[in-house]
Amino acid sequence: MLTAAVEALVTLADPGRMGLLFAGIGIGLLVGILPGLSGTVGMSLVLPFVFGMDPGDALALLMGMVAVIHTADTFPSVLLGVPGSSGSQATIVDGYPMARNGEASRALAAAFFSSMVGGILGALVLFLILPVARPLVLALGSPELFMLTLLGLATVGVLSGTRPILGILAGLLGLLIGAVGAAPAVPHYRYTFDSLYLFDGVSLPVLALGLFALPELLDLLIGKQRIARGAVLVGGWLQGFRDVIQHRWLVARCSILGVVIGLVPGLGGSVVDWISYGHAVQSAPDRERFGKGDVRGVIGPESSNNAKEGGTLVPTLLFGIPGSGTTAVLLGGLGILGLQAGPAMLTTHLDATLVIIWTLAIANVFGTMACLLPSRLIARISLVPAVRLAPFLIVVMLAGAYQSTRHWGDLFAFFAIGLLGWVMKQTGWPRPPLLIGFVLAAASERYLWISWSRYGWSWLLHPGVVVLGVLTLIFLVGGIRMGGRLGKTGDV
């Protein structure tokens, strides 16, 4: 396999191919920066060019883009409190307060550096576990998947701040909003009021933008503030680098967490960043500054969200099950190239798989550099008064929201959820648990339904279920008890 890996690197080193790799990186960075645009959009942008391309060229282009989306999406998360894509939601919790403290450069440098390390570690772990990944994935039945969604939901404990009951209620509200639309197994439609738009439920970008971005902007405008409270920026690149090196084990743990959760089919990457955030908080000896701008709250999610791209490729390549919208389109692209996902990706098409892994690692390095260089300059956005930033941001947000289904309902949903988010912010309700509940609503219902119709009560005794259940309890109780000792959660 090592010889094959070297051969794949030689294949990739072709100048034309590297050119395409850089083109992919460029598109990925752009898509990541624009809030609400996800990898799916980027993929559909490049897919038309894939036809008739040499598979090596096409993979360089496609994977170059996939690899860096979660690098660039840190900009809006940190600077504006707007989730750049679904992978960088947890970064907001501490990244945005850091920007408000004038530490935008430090936060960005730490985020990019840990993203890069995470991305490379992710590619490496992917390479190492690929031969044994198949039985690993096959060991996870529907009951185990349901328990994993519960583990994700248990992070509400960590994210609830001082009043766990509010966090849990917000999480339940998220589950309820997630229940809008078609039920997973039966053609029953819930809370749709016969509107075709609601048949598919509320879309994630709309919810994330409305919940976090709009309230933030409103408050900045009302207070006539800028994002950084002080007039100067403190802390720079070097500080960010030093932070990552100081917390290297956190980076390593969260990267591995990212790959492992990423490879769980059906759960995908949507909760990776939250679980690593929870891990960063729980493993820290001092927790007072979390939520108010603790760099560890940036490093945790950022090192896992690039690593997870490696993980999600396992179900995508070996089983043909996409873990996210991005990988769904990637799967389509592979089909166009004549590569059918399946066991053959480890035998006949091993070369293509290795090119994918290399691209992932290389693109992470260059993507990070491309983000780091201008980051000092871009960090100055936090000094611009909100009044001047707002018109631009509102348009970007609206475009991002409208992009998700291109239905007018998106715009109305965006404002309705924005209002809800603003009220929650004003009254001190934690918003991340709502997002977690929403993201996991469909998956938890689906796997519970399947477990029940397949096994009755007996699934509760599966060994994996018991282990995951105990872990979930520890996570939940630990998080809630910790909440009591935490100060009031800062801006989020």
């Binding site: 624009l34 799916t40 959009v41 993929m43 559909s44 897919l47 038309p48 036809f51 008739g52 096959l138 039945g141 529907s142 078609a182 997973p184 197994a185 039966v186 053609p187 029953h188 439609y189 016969d194 075709l196 738009y197 048949f199 598919d200 405008l221 089919p265 059906g266 179900p315 089983f319 043909g320 099950i321 996409p322 389109v329 990637l330 389509g332 166009i336 004549g338 059918q340 399946g342 066991p343 053959a344 009044v387 001047r388 018109p391 631009f392 348009v395 970007v396 609206l398 475009a399 409208y402 992009q403 289904t405 239905h407 715009l411 404002f415 689906r446 339904w449 399947i450 119709s453 397949r454």
Partner: protein
């Protein structure tokens, strides 16, 4: 996307705060809806209609799915067979398992020949079943090209069966994993019903990839995959002794007869399996419903349509280009690799299959609805 953000430059510099939200909505509304009046294609001669024009293929699903890949496979090749300067763009309008896109195409696009539409099996199913949200009418659309895609049913070896006849004696141990009773799973569920198998359906999986994993895990033990997926992902399992193929769904020919699946010609069809189990040919309302659903879901798995009101010259030119397309080796080679070894169907053949599908007798339709209502709690139909 380009519209609103391009707009931001001019409006952003104004930096006023007093722009109310409704104005923003209104502006983006104008940008999206604002489409310059284009010349009428109907006034051009065949062979000239699409010269320099943009033809949109509307796909009622998101990017990356089967219909999207199908459209994107065809688009660049079809473009070569249209007059010079013609461009084809794939547009995704996802939502409500293709109902949103189909409604939009039938009711809200201009019938000017500049937009064509891809339907999938599920677009037919909801239409056949009379889902209240369906506003489109297939009779108002002209079929241009159809592409079949069959399916193969297989079981886990631990059931100890090797033929449909043995399968009918397994009893209640059969577990089937599917997505939803009103989607593509309708076909296998009907097949099980007709063959008299006692199958426990476990619905709610996200995709046929997920059900295949469940099958490999032993969470289920009877499973189907579309023929291309069967050939790439299941044949290796069969060779490794981890799956036993039993029958294919078959295909519907012009006379409404079920014939073997051309991509899996050696396997018995559901009709053959019925004969093997019951000793006579299948008939009756249930069988009629099966054939209709088979025609809609398999024979016309993907169909390219154009609005009936579109200019006749545009339709004629598209038909000519498509007739060339399906003879073009540069297209057929990648198509065969991706879609399996199926013949493409042109308008006349599609019309025949359509009659078999859409023209189900009232008794068969009522039987089908009762089946779904009683067994799968489908209460909307």
């Amino acid at each position: 996307m380009t519209g609103p953000s391009a707009n931001s430059r001019s409006l952003g510099s104004a930096s006023t705060l007093r722009v109310p939200a409704w104005l923003w909505i209104g502006l983006s509304c104008l940008v999206v809806a604002g489409c310059a009046e284009a010349p009428d294609l109907g006034e051009r001669a065949v062979g000239e209609v699409y010269r320099g024009e943009l033809l949109r293929i509307m796909v009622p699903f998101g990017p990356g799915g089967g219909s999207d890949t199908w459209a994107r496979l065809i688009a660049p090749h079809l473009q070569r067979h249209l007059p010079e300067g013609a461009r084809i763009q794939v547009v995704n309008v996802p939502g409500a398992t293709s109902v949103a896109g189909a409604n939009e195409y039938a009711l809200r696009t201009r019938p000017d020949g500049r937009t064509i539409f891809v339907s999938a099996g599920s677009t037919f199913f909801v239409y056949l079943l009379g889902e209240p949200m369906v506003r489109y009418e297939f009779r108002d659309l002209e079929p241009l090209l159809a592409s079949p895609s069959g399916g193969v049913v297989f079981v886990r070896p631990d059931l100890g069966v090797s033929s449909p006849r043995e399968l009918s004696r397994v009893g209640e141990r059969l577990l089937y994993g599917g997505i939803s009773a009103t989607g593509n799973d309708l076909l296998p569920l009907l097949a099980f019903e007709i063959l008299g198998l006692e199958v426990t359906p476990i619905l709610g999986y996200t995709s046929k990839g997920a059900t295949r994993i469940a099958f490999q895990q032993g969470e289920t033990n009877i499973e189907y995959q579309t023929t291309p997926a069967y050939l790439t992902n299941v044949v290796p399992l069969v060779e490794a002794g981890e799956a036993v193929p039993l029958f294919s769904f078959g295909m519907v020919d012009g006379q409404g007869q079920v014939i073997p699946d051309p991509a899996a010609p050696d396997l018995p069809t559901v009709a053959d399996a019925y004969r093997a189990i019951h000793g006579r040919a299948p008939s009756g309302a249930a069988w009629e419903a099966y054939v209709a659903v088979l025609a809609a879901g398999v024979t016309m798995q993907k169909v390219l349509w154009i609005r009936q009101e579109a200019p006749a010259s545009a339709v004629a030119e598209l038909r000519e280009a498509i007739a060339d397309l399906i003879e073009d080796p540069a297209f057929l080679e990648p198509a065969r690799r991706q879609l399996g070894d199926y013949p493409f169907l042109l308008a006349d053949e599609i019309d025949e299959a359509l009659r078999a599908g859409v023209g189900m007798s009232p008794e068969a339709l009522e039987w089908l609805k009762d089946f779904l209502r009683e067994r799968f709690q489908v209460d909307r139909i």
